[in-house]
């Protein structure tokens, strides 16, 4: 038995959503087309909604009674337990699309499995999130095809983006005591079980996009224990500064 495994599991999901939402929102007024400005913000809003639902549930499970803002704004870098992939900087549009393809394919498989969670509130979040995330995956897939099989430049940028993001995918499927306990309790899938479905979809899309699935011997990890990449501290500093400057007030 791992004490509080269900709470830690829910918090991991929530942090993944919040951090990815924040990164996507950074595109506002910067996207290559107006339609994509709308789309990226829309995806960011869905992810923010998912995070908020899961923070509320985490507060019940861990018994601390914290608010969603306590989780988002009052924890330090070492207390966030999102995976490293979601915190990677936006880079160019190719990097964002690759990150989005890799993340949304993982999240879709995860939400679908979570719809049968024994934890009622989590399964309710998952039911809505699965519908939303299937659109996120469609959006990333469409752009992966266009950019991979578009111009020489777009193809080259997609190759670089894949090379940069790919190493961070290994961590998505890591199993540990929390994941195994959550799996055993029926709270949610052990991420290791999601790999075949994820890999099948990614291989097919990259193939259609004339891109090659990379291999990497470097498989960075640590996000689930609060060990992040350097770029994450800057993101949190910006996100939390105003909230922390006025302790305890209502906004």
């Amino acid at each position: 038995m791992v004490a509080g495994a269900a709470a830690v599991y829910a918090l991991r999901l929530a942090d993944d959503c919040l951090v990815l939402s924040h990164r996507l929102a950074q595109w506002s007024s910067r996207a290559p087309t107006l339609e994509d400005d709308v789309a990226l913000t829309n995806i960011a809003l869905d992810l923010l909604g998912q995070a908020r639902g899961l923070y509320a549930r985490t507060a019940e499970l861990d018994g601390t009674g914290r608010s969603e803002d306590d989780y988002a704004f009052m924890r330090g870098e070492r207390e966030f337990i999102n995976c490293l992939l979601v915190e990677q900087e936006n880079g160019d549009f190719a990097a964002t699309i690759v990150r989005q393809l890799l993340c949304s394919t993982f999240q879709l498989a995860q939400w679908q499995a979570l719809t049968t969670s024994t934890d009622g509130p989590v399964s309710a979040v998952a039911a809505k999130a699965a519908k939303e995330t299937s659109y996120h995956r469609d959006h990333a897939t469409d752009w992966t095809l266009r950019l991979g099989d578009g111009t020489d430049e777009s193809h080259r940028r997609m190759e670089s983006a894949l090379a940069a993001m790919w190493p961070f995918t290994a961590e998505l499927f890591e199993s540990d005591a929390v994941a195994r306990e959550a799996g055993a309790l029926g709270v949610g899938p052990d991420p290791a079980t999601l790999r075949p479905e994820w890999e099948g979809y990614i291989r097919r899309v990259l193939g259609d996009a004339t891109l090659v699935m990379p291999e990497s011997t470097w498989t960075p990890s640590g996000g689930r224990e609060g060990l992040h990449t350097e770029c994450f501290g800057y993101m949190l500093a910006e996100m939390q500064h105003l909230h922390r400057s006025f302790p305890g007030v209502t906004w």
């Binding site: 924040h22 929102a25 400005d37 266009r146 996100m239």
Partner: protein, 337 residues
């Protein structure tokens, strides 16, 4: 019966020199039919005949409106990554997204007049089309987001509600939806400022400071005084503009002055007071010299806003080129997508 917009050539068949005179007669008749539609408060649709000046005037106005929505994403978007709570962050993201959506409807409305979005964006980048001067002011604190919602969106609604009945159908219909969303934004801005004003002394001070900075630019947003308004008379005759700038300005002040009392914030205008005889608020003279300066390019953020938009557009060029190349290679998939 609506004008079909088709040109009749019958009159010119026998006499080759009759063509010019006949065209003039037809043009006069079209003009009369067009004006009759406007005078009877009906809508002009894209396929209807319309005078060139009407078309040009609408393109100018709709494009300027679309550009304002898009440039307006920048000052508020400036606070998305720093919003102080998840609830405020969600509201702000949804609002900035709505502005992008308004830009999209409006560019589409302009396209029904025979220009395309890329052309209009080029004109914006060349400085040949403008956007609302209000977005050339900086958002320096979180309270500015609330002040923009309350005052700037308030002024925008005052301007735009009459446009829901403007003579050009696609513009009027786009404005119905835009106005509904803008009204929502104005309430959200008001509510956000209310929370600050009734929060700690520091929050109250932040809200008052934002109102001090945004009040006059918002009052000026309704345009130059009637005597100096260059496009007003013709726009009024064409049923595009229904009220004068000064009438709209009065309406705006009448709406927000009592709201300021509820907010507990003081507009920076010592002459602002209810006038029982007029049944309106009196208010001071806006600094139209400053408005002219900002419109002509010397506001605090004109250069920054233009450079930001141009940089994003140029950085996205390879993406748009890739999409075009893909569509050319895969016509069936792209048409379905």
């Amino acid at each position: 019966m609506r004008s079909s917009g088709q040109i009749e050539h019958g009159a010119a068949l026998d006499d080759p020199f009759a063509g010019e005179a006949a065209a003039e007669v037809i043009s006069d008749r079209h003009e009369a039919e067009f004006q009759a539609l406007i005078d009877s408060d009906q809508r002009i649709e894209p396929r209807d005949w319309m005078p060139d000046g009407y078309r040009k005037s609408l393109i100018r106005q709709i494009a300027q409106h679309a550009h304002s929505e898009i440039i307006g994403m920048q000052p508020e978007g400036n606070w998305i990554t720093r919003a102080p709570s998840l609830r405020r962050k969600a509201i702000l993201m949804a609002k900035v997204q709505d502005e992008a959506g308004h830009g999209l409807y409006l560019y589409c409305a302009a396209e029904t007049l025979g220009v395309d979005r890329a052309e209009l964006i080029d004109l914006l980048h060349q400085g040949r089309q403008k956007y609302s001067s209000i977005f050339n002011y900086p958002t320096l604190t979180w309270a500015d987001v609330g002040a923009i919602g309350w005052l700037v969106d308030g002024a925008a609604i005052t301007n735009q509600i009459p446009l829901c009945r403007c003579s050009f159908g696609p513009y009027a219909r786009a404005m119905v939806r835009v106005c509904k969303e803008e009204s929502f934004h104005q309430r959200q801005g008001f509510e956000s400022l209310y929370a600050l004003s009734h929060g700690t002394p520091e929050q109250h001070e932040m809200a008052q400071d934002a109102v001090n900075r945004w009040w006059w630019p918002s009052v000026e947003m309704l345009g130059p005084p009637d005597a100096e308004s260059t496009h007003s008379a013709q726009s009024t005759a064409w049923g595009i503009k229904r009220y004068s700038n000064d009438e709209l300005r009065q309406r705006f002040v009448d709406m927000v002055a009592p709201q300021a009392v509820v907010l507990g914030l003081t507009p920076p205008d010592p002459e602002l007071r209810w006038n029982e005889d007029r049944g309106h608020y009196d208010f001071g003279e806006p600094d139209f010299e400053e408005l002219r300066r900002v419109v002509s390019g010397d506001g605090p953020c004109n250069r920054q806003r233009a450079a930001h938009h141009l940089a994003a557009h140029e950085e996205g060029a390879w993406v748009r080129a890739a999409a075009a190349a893909y569509a050319a290679k895969h016509p069936a998939t792209s048409a379905a997508a």
